[in-house]
């Protein structure tokens, strides 16, 4: 709650400060606001303090341990991305203040998605998160790809919203409430029209699948990810994805948990399709961002395992650890990519050829990020995967088998980057100048990955 207020007022401050067009000032304000929000969240999380402001809007949202923990994840992601934004947003001039404002506003939406106790709040949260993202995707107004991405994202997003809203309406029709607890009670007591409820759950699942880009509702993702400005893509594939999953998990674990026999198999099928299709398609990509888009879709498949494991001990903790390690690794990878691709004007995987010779540090960062994304021990990504797989193992052993095979497939494309950087000889290595902000961010990311490796339990056991 404190974080939400801090972010909201910082966003407004940044909008006004945008008039000055001073890059340094804008970045500092945005960064200071998010760090402050992160600190407030961290302190609440440590103290286990979930009362206080919560009482004011008790029927709308509740910042419990779960909401605080995921707020911390997206805030860490945002702080890292804002750290990159000094150089990363250098192409933006008159809209820079708006951009910072939009990032922070969409973060407010994410926080609502973690803490809602009412489906209206869920819907509002998703919209507050999404609408700034549509604008951000198109923030390079001079580039046709960016415009295309914004339009596609907006149309698909609007479509998904329609499904979601229809689903909410049907669930309301079946249970006569928007409140999660009331819905859960109604389902448990069986006092509802079964067909309408099931249709409602399915439609909400479809709507949220669009948001988290799960197959078969993922078509927008590769184009939008590729066309958006690099830093915005990093934001989308980490913060937005985390928000989507945390909301999905919260919704299904608190309201629909008793209908698990109905939606379980559907979600399992979506998960199986998502990881398989995305991993196989990623094998054939030559453009780094497109590859990362499919990689992010495949991670959506793994994350659905957490939803399937609802009710098992540690499923929420597993998702928390997974989203955190995934976000950090993705942002670090994007940081290196932005430097290499934008300075050499080459978005393909070839841009990395021989990078280890001239930039050993950046190459090492990339290796650790890729190993973490592939889930290879002892990186943080492995522990995320391990806990997810263990949580869902008892209920869906066959799905875990498939997930394991998919993890093996994913090595092939993640290692393409490593091979290009380290093993390809006789190529002129790319010229890279590293701005200070990038150094801080990737170093911070590495420290976080190392900490997660040494003590994964501290995050896993948090919720």
């Amino acid at each position: 709650m404190k974080a939400l207020l801090i972010l909201f007022f910082t966003a407004i401050a940044v909008l006004f400060a945008g008039l000055s067009k001073n890059r340094k000032t804008l970045q500092t304000i945005a960064l200071a606001g998010s760090i402050l929000a992160l600190l407030a969240t961290g302190i609440d999380l440590m103290l286990g303090d979930t009362t206080g402001l919560n009482e004011h809007y008790a029927t709308m949202f509740r910042f419990d341990q779960y909401a605080l923990a995921f707020s911390a994840v997206v805030l860490i992601g945002t702080v890292l991305i804002l750290g990159l934004s000094g150089w990363g947003f250098r192409a933006l001039t008159d809209t820079l203040g708006d951009n910072y404002g939009l990032i922070l506003f969409s973060l407010c939406g994410a926080l609502c998605m973690f803490s809602f106790t009412n489906m209206v709040m869920l819907f509002l949260g998703i919209e507050i998160l999404s609408i700034p993202m549509y604008v951000m995707a198109g923030s390079r107004r001079d580039e046709p790809e960016s415009n295309e991405a914004a339009l596609k994202y907006f149309l698909m997003g609007a479509f998904a919203t329609g499904f979601l809203l229809f689903g909410i309406a049907l669930v309301y029709g079946a249970t006569a409430s928007f409140d999660m607890q009331v819905i859960a009670r109604a389902i448990a007591e069986g006092k509802h029209s079964l067909g309408m409820l099931h249709m409602g759950i399915l439609l909400m699942l479809v709507g949220l699948s669009f948001k988290v880009s799960a197959v078969p509702f993922h078509f927008w993702a590769p184009d939008v990810y590729t066309g958006s400005p690099n830093l915005v893509t990093a934001f989308m594939s980490t913060v937005v994805k985390t928000a989507g999953f945390a909301a999905l998990y919260r919704l299904f674990s608190s309201a629909f948990v008793d209908a698990i026999d109905f939606w379980g198999i559907t979600v399992a099928a979506i998960a199986a399709l998502t990881m398989t299709l995305a991993n196989v398609t990623a094998l054939f990509q030559t453009n780094f961002k497109r590859m990362m888009a499919y990689s992010s879709i495949s991670h959506a498949g793994y994350l659905l395992l957490a939803v399937l494991a609802i009710g098992q001990a540690g499923s929420a903790g597993a998702m928390l650890l997974y989203t955190l390690s995934y976000s950090i690794a993705t942002i670090c990878a994007f940081a290196v990519y932005i430097l290499v691709a934008e300075q050499n004007n080459n978005a393909s995987l070839d841009a990395f050829n021989g990078l280890s010779k001239r930039e050993p540090f950046l190459a090492a960062v990339m290796v650790i990020s890729m190993l973490s994304l592939a889930g290879i021990p002892p990186t943080a990504g492995f522990f995320g995967k391990y806990f997810l797989f263990t949580a869902a193992f008892e209920r869906y052993p066959w799905l875990i088998g498939l997930a394991v095979i998919n993890s093996a497939i994913s090595i092939y494309y993640y290692f393409k980057v490593i091979i290009a950087m380290y093993f390809v000889r006789d190529e002129a290595s790319p010229v890279v100048v590293t701005p200070v902000g990038f150094k801080w961010v990737v170093a911070g990311g590495l420290v976080l990955i190392a900490l997660l490796t040494l003590a994964p339990g501290s995050v896993y056991g948090l919720i």
């Binding site: 903790g317 290879i376 002892p378 492995f382 193992f393 093996a408 896993y460």
Partner: protein, 489 residues
């Protein structure tokens, strides 16, 4: 103490990789020697009865029952000794080559050694898995950066093969882990545990044990490798730089055998009766198959690679027999195979460096110009052939005895390895060392001091362990009894 064995190489690796000192190779050698000294101390402490005092245990992920537990029994200790004994030899033998980005090379070797020590000491299932994989990353980089022709394709195949194999092992581990603890306890308490003794205590039905054992088997069979999971091995051994090949063949394949002894059989003994005949057959077929191919090889390095498949097949068969002689034989042979194969690859490397070829047809008559090499090579080669009074003999004798006790026919077929081994080794030795020297081999320079040290130490070990096999058998005796006793088949 066990923690120190693990940390010394890892810290050294971090230092060499990050600080990039100008004399990385000397630092690497220094640290491996330090670790060897520590190992010697640990062996003495162990023999004076302090096995339990060497252990290190601390919770890692307490709320999931995962702990950072290292401990040493005779079996672990033997392999830790092997690792740390070969470490300085491998580092020193890499001095002969100049590598681009040398610090990275030695850093990777050190990291690998740390991980290997971890594998052999881990007492927690997940920790074992983590180290098992951690060992894979540096060796992948070593082979793919400093390897020979076609290294990128070959090493990626190697990596994916072994990684898929170990993922199956992870599934088996998770399955057994989920069966630990009290099934009636609620979800809120920590009820599962990854500790070895808790995993071993889990009773499995024969059909689930079948799956669990198969998962482990795939991982370990790929690592060793056992026929038909061996297809990555000859290519990888041949393209890898010699230091990498030594790590792979001398130590890393022992991870697989060790895994079978420590984890596979104890965790799923219920499936022994149904699966082991198949495993045994595969191992024995592999022995004969690899031996026949080795006889035909003209590439010296490839020949050693195939001989290694044959030897490890015999070792694995001895373990699968799961009787005292078989397991003891496999342990002693693991140690000795490590010494022999490292020696053979070192000889192959030094000949390749001097002549620029690995083809046996281009060698010949080296003994005339390099008598010291010829002598030491002869001793190591005889060890590999398992001539009595060399180190290969007691192990092979025990192994064949153990396999014979399990099934006489298997023992008879596996016994062919002695004949084949003599054929391909003596053939290779004859082709390389005797005959008429050609232009290149006539000027073959004999061993320099560094090479003499390495081969001298190895040849010395071959003879000493041939005379006194009891030193190894005594070290592992109690632990083998304990593990055989703990597993009810």
């Amino acid at each position: 103490m066990s923690l120190l064995l693990l940390l010394i190489p890892l810290i050294a690796a971090g230092f060499v990789l990050v600080a990039r000192p100008s004399n990385g190779r000397q630092i690497a050698l220094l640290f491996t020697l330090a670790n060897l000294a520590l190992t010697a101390y640990v062996v003495m402490a162990f023999q004076s009865g302090g096995g339990e005092a060497l252990a290190f245990r601390t919770p890692w992920v307490p709320n999931a029952g995962i702990s950072f537990s290292l401990s040493l029994d005779g079996i672990s200790l033997l392999l830790v000794v092997l690792t740390n004994l070969l470490a300085p030899i491998i580092v020193l033998s890499s001095f002969g080559r100049t590598y681009e980005h040398e610090n990275r090379y030695y850093g990777m070797v050190l990291m690998m050694l740390g991980a290997l020590n971890g594998v052999f000491m881990a007492e927690d299932g997940l920790l074992f898995y983590v180290f098992y994989e951690l060992a894979l990353i540096p060796i992948y980089f070593i082979c793919a950066i400093w390897g020979g022709q076609d290294r990128i394709r070959v090493t990626l195949k190697f990596f994916i093969y072994t990684f898929i194999g170990s993922l199956f092992m992870l599934m088996s581990l998770i399955y057994v882990y989920l069966q630990t603890g009290d099934p009636l306890a609620g979800n809120d308490v920590i009820r599962h545990s990854f500790l070895w003794r808790d995993l071993v205590a889990v009773p499995l039905s024969p059909s689930t044990a079948w799956w669990v054992m198969l998962g482990f088997f795939v991982a370990f069979a790929v690592k060793m490798p056992i026929f038909p999971f061996h297809t990555w091995q000859p290519d990888t051994y041949t393209t890898a730089p010699t230091g990498g090949t030594m790590l792979l063949s001398g130590i890393m394949l022992k991870m697989g055998v060790y895994g079978v002894i420590r984890w596979m059989v104890p965790l799923a003994p219920e499936a022994m009766h149904t699966l082991v005949p198949t495993f045994m057959t595969l191992a024995v077929v592999g022995i004969v198959y690899a031996s026949i191919i080795a006889v035909k090889q003209s590439d010296f390095k490839r020949l050693i690679a195939y001989s290694s498949i044959a030897h490890v097949g015999l070792i694995a068969a001895g373990v699968f027999a799961w009787n005292k002689t078989g397991v003891q034989g496999s342990l002693i042979q693991m140690f000795n195979h490590g010494i022999n194969v490292v020696g053979l690859f070192f000889v192959a490397d030094l000949i390749e460096r001097r002549l620029g070829t690995r083809s046996l047809a281009d060698m010949g008559g080296i003994a005339k110009s390099a008598p010291r090499l010829a002598t030491l090579f002869m001793i190591i080669m005889l060890g590999a052939v398992a001539v009595p009074l060399t180190n290969g003999f007691p192990g092979e004798f025990l192994l064949l005895n153990g396999i014979w006790n399990y099934n006489a026919w298997m023992g008879a077929v596996a016994g062919l390895t002695i004949i084949f081994g003599a054929v391909y080794m003596l053939r290779a030795y004859g082709l390389a060392m005797f005959g008429e020297p050609n232009e290149a081999t006539a000027q073959f320079a004999d061993l320099d001091t560094r090479e003499l040290t390495i081969l001298g130490v190895l040849a010395f070990l071959v003879l000493v362990l041939g005379f006194f096999p009891q030193t190894i058998l005594g070290l592992t005796d109690q632990s083998v009894n304990a593990i055989l006793g703990a597993v009810q088949i």
